[in-house]
Symmetry: C2
Subunit: 388 residues, 2 copies
C-alpha cells in the first residue's frame, strides 16, 4: 500500500540523475534539512553513497554534493537461445564493460550458468569488478520471479525449476534476481531507451519466439503467477499450424524467428523464392536473417512472408491496445531488425483495428538499443533491489 522508502527514493534519484546537492535532494523528496542529513549519513555509513565535492553556490555557502558510491558494481546478464551477454555497470548503471559469447541454452543450466560465472570471473581478473554488489539475469522463457526459477521453459530443456537465483547467489556471494528476457529488456528501454518517459508501455520481442514485457505505472507487471506477457501463444488462426505448446495456430507458430526460418525453407525447397533456393543450396540451412536478406534484395516471396507475419503480429497487438491502452509499443528482438516493411505492416493492422481513443498519439517503434536493453535492464532490476 505504501510507496518506496525514503532510502530507496534517494538512491534511485542519485542513480537516475547523477550527483546532487543535499539541498536539491531535500527538495526532490520533500524532507527537512535535518531529516535529509540523517538519511544521507546513514546511506554513507552503508557505503552506498559518498561525498563528491561542492556544488555551485545558490547564494551563501557552497552546498556539499553526494553521489552513488563510485566503487559500486552491478552485473547485468542476458541469456538468449544462442548467446549470453554480460555487462558490468557502475552504481549509476553506466556500462563499463560488455562481453558476449555464443552458447546453446539447450546445454542446460550447469553449462550455461558455468559460462556466466566464468565470464564474471574473467571480468574480475581484468580488474573490472573490484566488488560485485548484485547481479540481474534475464532468461529466454517463463520465470517465477518470486522463486528465481524458470518454469517449464519450452526452448530450455533441463532448466525447469532449476534454482538459478539461489545457485548464482551462492556462487557469487551477492544478491541475484532472475526474470524473463522481455521483462529485463522492457526495463532497459525504460532506463535508457525510447520508453524513458513512458508509464504504461509494452515491449514486444520477436526473436526465436514471441513475448511481451508489460510496464504499468512505471513498474514491470508480472501478473498473478509471473506469466504475464506470454503473447506468443495467443491464437491467431483457429486451424493454424501446431505449436510447441500443444495448441494450434499460436502467434509464434505463425510468425517468429523459428516460424520464419521454416517458411523460408518451404519456399526455397518449392522454388517459389529463387533467392532463398540459392541461399539454401549455398548454406544447407536457412534462418530468419536470410528472409531479411531476400527482402532487401527485392525478393517478392520474402516480402509476402514478412507482410503476412506483420499483419498477424499487428492483429494481436490491436487486441492488446484495445485492452491495455498503452502509451507506447516498442518492438525488439532479432526479427525486428527486418525493419521498415515489418513495422509498416504491424502499424497498419494496429491503427486499422483499434479504436481512435486508444491509438491517438500511440507511437509504435523499433527498439534502438538492441542487445544492450537486456543487460542494462538486468542491472537496473538488481539495482532496484539493492537501492530499496
Amino acid at each position: 500500500m505504501s510507496g518506496p522508502s525514503t532510502h530507496a527514493r534517494l538512491l534511485r534519484l542519485l542513480r537516475d540523475r547523477g550527483p546532487q546537492s543535499r539541498a536539491e535532494l531535500g527538495d526532490l523528496v520533500e524532507l527537512s534539512r535535518t531529516r535529509i542529513g540523517a538519511e544521507l549519513d546513514r546511506l554513507t555509513e552503508l557505503g552506498l553513497i559518498e561525498e563528491a565535492g561542492l556544488a555551485e553556490s545558490r547564494g551563501g555557502r557552497r552546498p556539499a554534493v553526494v553521489r552513488i558510491n563510485s566503487g559500486l558494481r552491478f552485473a547485468g546478464v542476458n541469456v538468449g537461445a544462442t548467446s549470453v551477454d554480460v555487462a558490468v555497470t557502475d552504481g549509476e548503471l553506466h556500462v563499463l564493460e560488455h562481453i558476449a559469447e555464443e552458447i546453446d541454452v539447450r546445454e542446460g543450466p550447469d553449462h550455461v550458468l558455468g559460462r556466466v560465472t566464468y565470464l564474471i570471473g574473467k571480468l574480475r581478473d581484468q580488474g573490472h569488478l573490484p566488488q560485485l554488489h548484485g547481479l540481474g539475469i534475464g532468461l529466454p522463457g517463463p520465470v517465477s520471479f518470486r522463486d528465481g526459477v524458470p518454469y517449464a521453459p519450452p526452448i530450455m530443456p533441463g532448466w525447469d525449476q532449476f534454482p538459478v537465483r539461489d545457485n548464482l547467489t551462492r556462487e557469487l556471494g551477492c544478491p541475484v534476481l532472475v526474470d524473463n528476457d522481455v521483462n529485463v529488456m522492457a526495463l532497459g528501454e525504460q532506463h535508457v531507451g525510447v520508453a524513458r518517459t513512458s508509464e504504461d508501455f509494452l515491449f514486444v520481442k520477436i526473436g526465436t519466439g514471441v513475448g511481451c514485457g508489460i510496464v504499468v505505472n512505471g513498474e514491470v507487471y508480472r501478473g498473478a503467477n509471473g506469466s504475464a506477457g506470454d503473447i506468443g501463444h495467443i491464437q491467431v488462426e483457429e486451424d493454424g499450424p501446431a505449436c510447441g505448446c500443444g495448441n494450434l495456430g499460436c502467434l509464434e507458430a505463425l510468425f517468429s524467428g523459428a516460424a520464419l526460418a521454416r517458411a523460408a525453407l518451404a519456399v526455397a525447397s518449392s522454388g517459389e523464392s529463387p533467392f532463398l533456393a540459392v541461399r539454401l543450396q549455398e548454406r544447407g540451412i536457412l534462418a530468419a536473417t536470410d528472409v531479411a536478406d531476400a527482402l532487401a534484395a527485392g525478393d517478392p516471396v520474402a516480402g509476402r512472408l514478412v507482410r503476412e507475419g506483420g499483419r498477424r503480429v499487428g492483429l494481436v497487438l490491436a487486441g492488446l491496445v484495445s485492452f491495455f491502452n498503452p502509451d507506447l509499443i516498442v518492438i525488439g528482438g532479432g526479427v525486428a531488425r527486418i525493419g521498415h516493411v515489418l513495422l509498416a505492416e504491424i502499424r497498419s493492422a494496429v491503427y486499422r483495428r483499434s479504436l481512435p481513443l486508444a491509438t491517438n498519439n500511440l507511437p509504435l517503434v523499433v527498439s534502438e538499443l538492441g542487445e544492450t536493453s537486456g543487460v542494462i535492464g538486468a542491472a537496473r532490476m538488481i539495482s532496484d533491489l539493492v537501492y530499496r
Copy 2:
C-alpha cells in the same frame, strides 16, 4: 511514486474495517501513539471521523474507539442503456437506500442527469441525505476519467464530451467523479463481491455491449487515455459481421445482448427455433432474455447460440489471460445471467487455450452482486477521493 497519505490510509482502514481503537490503528499504519493521536484529532476537526465509545481493555485503561463520522453520506449512481440506479451509502459504504428507474440513455445528458438530480432530491426530501459528501457515477461508454466527460460513446448519442462531472458538481455542490460502468462495477466486486481478496483481476461485463474493468495491484487501471478494457471491439472473425464501430468481426458484433437479440430474431423468423418463433409472435420483439428462456426450455438452437457466443468470449479471454495473467475473472452484466451453459463454454475455451502457468488456480466466476456492484463501486470511487 509515493503511496496514499497517512490520512488516506487511516480513513480507508476505518471505512473497510469499521470502528477501531486508536491503538489498533497505530499498529495497522505503524505510527507512534503521539503521531496517531495528532492525525486522528485532525480528522475529527475535519468532521471525517468521530469517537465511538471505549473498546474492551487489552490490559489497563479501556482504549477509545474511533469510526468514520456516522453523518457522512455518499451517492453511487450507475447509468445503463435503459435504467439508472441510485444508492445512498454511509461513510463505511453500507447501502442505506437504493432506488432505480427506467430511462433511455439516448435521450441525452440533460434529461438523464436531470433524472439523477431529481432522484437525489427525492432521497434528500425523504431524509436519507442530510448532507451529500460526494457522488460517483458510472456511464455505459468510454469516459475520460481525468476530464469527467464521456468520449465518443457509441450507444449514448448527444453525450460526447458533455461535462458530466462539472455539471453535477455545480448542481449538487459536492465532489463528483465519473467513470465507465465496468470500472465502477469492478470496484464494487472488489469492495463487497467475489474479488475482495484479488489484486489483479478482470471484470467482464456482457450487456448490450461488452467491456472489461481491469484492476492492477488493487487499483483500477485506465490506460494512457482512459480507454483500457475496451474489449468489445477486439476482432474475433476476420470477415465477421459489421460492428457499430465501423470494423468487421468485433466480439460485441458477434456476441453481446444486442447481437444475441439479432440472432434470436433471425432464428425465430427462419423457424429454426420454434420456441423463439412463438415468442416473437406473442411480443413482436426479442431480447437476449428470450434466448435465456428458450435455453431454459430446452431449445437446442438457443443452446447453440449461447455456446457459440461463450466460445468467442472465451477465445478473447484466453488471449487476455496469456497477456495479463489475472488471479480472477468475474463475468457480469445482463447476459451473464444466462448462467451455467455460457460460463461452462467460456471456461472451456479459456482453460484449453491458455498456458498452464496462467490458468493454474484461475477462478472464472459469475458476479453475485448484479446491479449492486455498480452503485457500490461508484460510491467507493468517490469515497477514495474524499478519503485522500
